[in-house]
Structures are given as structure tokens and as C-alpha cells.
Amino acid sequence: MDQLVHTYHSKGVSRKVIAQKIVEAGAGLLRVCSYSDKEMDMATAIFRTGGRRLVYATHKGLNLPSINTIRSRTDITHLQPSVGTITHAEIHHNISEVFGKDHPAIPRCGHSIMTDEINLDERAVYLKFCQSVGGLCREHSKDHNLQINDYEAMEQLAETVHGPKPTVHYAKEATVIGIAPFRQDDYDVRPIVISGTCKTETALGSANMHQMVLDAWRTNPNGEARHGPIWSVASDGDGTRHRAFYLLFMKKPLDESDPLYDILSKLIGLNLAVGEFNVNGEFDIKHIIKHSYHYFFLSIKVNLYFHRYLHSHLYNWRNYYQ
């Protein structure tokens, strides 16, 4: 009964109609469903593993929530991939979508931004939410209209991509920026930016993109206010991002009045340059090991004779100690 009144009331229906619906429900003409959180979670899991058809089947067959119900309860995350250049609006939308659903019990803590690239199939896609063409690179699509309004505009766009001198490219890779907490429990990385790249981005462009994410997190009510500040920005050893990170996170010396200063300033040799709000850049240990391996142990001129020599000694020595 509660459920029924609530549903129809929120639709703005008159009392008369509500009364009529109650009568109908009593007579078995109208099915009223109220779902527990557990059922909603199960339907979400079914939707995300088995897809829309399975949700339909379980809705009809087992009385689990329908696709519309889980959609309306916003249990389904909708991440907007960026169309062309990344905008503040997109980042804010994604932060709210991804970080706005936590039940509030999780305490605030430091967070890290992570950036990496993933391979994409090079093709254009239709993005329904903004009626636009997606899958093009963010570096060059700035000056082009990607909205699907008329046939001529689309032909022109196709010409710029497929013409003899393409000025816009299909995205070879997608840059994904995710945010993860510095804590051991409930740890997961949540992507908030997905953007195509043709790998010609400049350091400045990359720096601007990260600055936008930092700004958005700081100002969004579902960002810093709710979850905690950003402490560092991590990345692999990509050359462009090196320069970008230098621009962003070696900006100014640590402020002497900062609580971090008293102990860190005593560490001899520690470089105290930081970015705005004391954010640090960082690189992944695995990438560093890969690089070292490559540079040192493979390109170094260690002669083969010596390998053999060491090998036999290492072998004896190990046997001796074991």
C-alpha cells in the first residue's frame, strides 16, 4: 500500500486516481512490487553479467526488479566517454555518477589519480546521450562539430577523417583516468574520464587535462568534500606525461607553514617541490623495473664469456649455501 501511494503520488496523480488504483490492486488487477535492497542488488548483478534479456526473464519469471526499476533507482552507473575535447561538465557528471552512490559509512581518506591508456578498435561510434559521433581523437576534434544534426555535416566530418589529408583521426587508444583511495579495505579504482587519443598530445594538453580533473574533484560535492583529498597523481612512464607531471607537480616549494614541512624539511636531500594543494606526481614501480631491465641488463655490454663464468660460480655458490 505504501509503495503504491508513494509511486503514484510522486507521479503527481490526483487522489481520486490513487484511490482507484488501490481498489484495482485489491482486486488483483494491478501488480504492486516492492523490492528489498538485496533484490535490487541481485537484479543489478544479473544485468551486469547476463545483460538486458536475462533481467527481463528474471523479472517475468522470478519477480525480480525490471530494467526500468533498477535504472530509476540509479543503481546502474552511466559513465560518459568524452566526445572530442574533455569538458568540465563531463568530469563533474562522471564524478557524481561514480562517487555519488556510496552509502555514507566510508570514512574520508587520501586519494590517488591514476592515468593509463588502453587499446581501442579504431572506429566511430554513436553516442546516444549527446547524439554525437564518438571514437575520434581528442587532440584534433576540437574545431569540429561532432553532433549528428544533418547529413551534410556528417559527410564533411567523414571527409576530414577519411579524406586524403585527414585532420581528425580515429582514437588509437583511450586515456582512462581513475581515482582510488589510499586504504586497504573497500579498495577499487573508479574511472571518471574516458577519452580517445591519437597519441599526439602535447605535455601542456596532458597537464591541462589533469588539472581539470584535480579542479573538478576539489569542487564537486561528491569529490573531496565527501571522500577526501587527492594526494598524488600516478602514471606509467609515458614521455609526454613526464613533462606534464613536471609542469604540474614541481610547481612550488612546500610552504613552510604547512604541517608537512616540519618533518619533511629535515630529510636531507628530499626535493620539496610540490604542485597546488601539495599534490605529488608518481610513477609505477613496475614500469620502472621494466625500464631498468631493458636499459641495464639487456643493453649493457656484459660479455658472454663472463655470463658463463658467473653462471657456474653462481650455481656452485648457491649449492654450497643451500
Binding site: P81, D116, N119, D121, V189, H242, F283, I285
Partner: protein, 179 residues
């Protein structure tokens, strides 16, 4: 050894770690060599020792945080001296920059965590962007036979992974986990 130095896949991190450990094992090796060879051995011992300091904090779970930071600091100090002396013949500039930045940011992380909530632990595995790559792994797995995807399905798969993660956090018993 020959296999460790000539890998089929130069991106093989476990093998790189194995090699570094093998080199680190050499540091107590004491054998008679002619002057040229012993010079090479000294260089190799130094390398092994140096890189051992870099990887130990990440692979030895029994270390305390103090020990981990000591190792990293030792690496950085020795690397700095070697880099100042030999410049890029010792270390590519980018690699030196990367390690410096990583170690610096780890020290900052420790202090930031101390100030924010000292009861909460510091975990070196949380630094870096490796977790994002793990997420990519899951995205590829969802595709099964069609591992690569376009922009739209990438967004869909990432959302699916997050939704499932949220549900499974609330109901851990529903998760089959990795097999």
C-alpha cells in the same frame, strides 16, 4: 642466467625481479679473478645491490615501513651519487627522474597519511597506477573472445565492472572470485 638476460618478452616483470635477485645474491661472492674480470664483478655486484634496495620494499611482505623507506632512501642516495658521477652512461635520465619522483612521492604519502590518520596503515602497493591496469585486465576479460573494444563498449564494460564491484562489496558471498 642466459635465459634471464635474453628474455622473449622484455616486459616480463617477474623475470626482471628474478634477475635482480640473482645479481643481489652475488654481492657476497668472493672469488679470485683477473683484474678486468674483478672490475666487471664489482660493477655487477653494485648493480645487484642497488636494485635489490629498490625492489625489496615491494616484494618482501615482512618488512616494516621503516625498513621499506630505508631501502628506498638507500637506493636513491646511491643512485644520486652514481648519476652525478657518470651521468647518463650509468642511468638514462628519464629512469633516474622516474625513480626519484616515485621515492619522493612515497615519502610524502607516508607523512600525509601520518597527519591524516595515523591509525591507518601505509601500503606501498597502493602507490603507482598498477591497479588501473588490473581494471583494464578485467575489461579485456569481459570481452571474452572479443577482447578489444570500441569507445562505447569500453565505457559500458568499465561501468559494469564498477557496478558488480559495488554489489559484491555488499554481498561478498555472491562473488565467485578469480579462478
Amino acid at each position: 642466467m642466459a635465459l634471464l638476460l635474453n628474455p622473449e618478452d622484455p616486459q616480463d616483470v617477474p623475470r626482471a625481479i628474478e634477475l635482480i635477485q640473482a645479481l643481489a645474491d652475488l654481492r657476497n661472492l668472493d672469488i679470485d679473478l683477473d683484474p678486468v674480470e674483478s672490475k666487471t664483478l664489482i660493477a655487477i655486484k653494485l648493480m645487484g645491490h642497488l636494485f635489490n634496495c629498490l625492489i625489496q620494499p615491494y616484494i618482501d611482505p615482512t618488512l616494516s615501513l621503516t625498513q621499506q623507506i630505508k631501502y628506498l632512501s638507500k637506493f636513491q642516495h646511491v643512485a644520486m651519487v652514481l648519476y652525478r658521477k657518470n651521468s647518463t652512461t650509468f642511468f638514462p635520465g628519464q629512469l633516474y627522474g622516474d625513480t626519484s619522483v616515485m621515492i619522493k612521492s612515497t615519502v610524502f604519502y607516508v607523512r600525509k597519511q601520518q597527519l591524516w590518520d595515523p591509525t591507518c596503515g601505509v601500503f606501498l602497493t597502493l602507490t603507482g597506477d598498477d591497479q588501473l591496469e588490473t581494471q583494464f585486465g578485467r575489461v579485456h576479460m569481459q570481452g571474452a573472445h572479443d577482447a578489444n573494444c570500441d569507445m562505447k563498449s569500453l565505457a559500458d564494460r568499465i561501468c559494469a565492472a564498477m557496478d558488480l564491484n559495488r554489489v559484491f562489496t555488499r554481498h561478498p558471498s555472491w562473488d565467485q572470485g578469480h579462478r
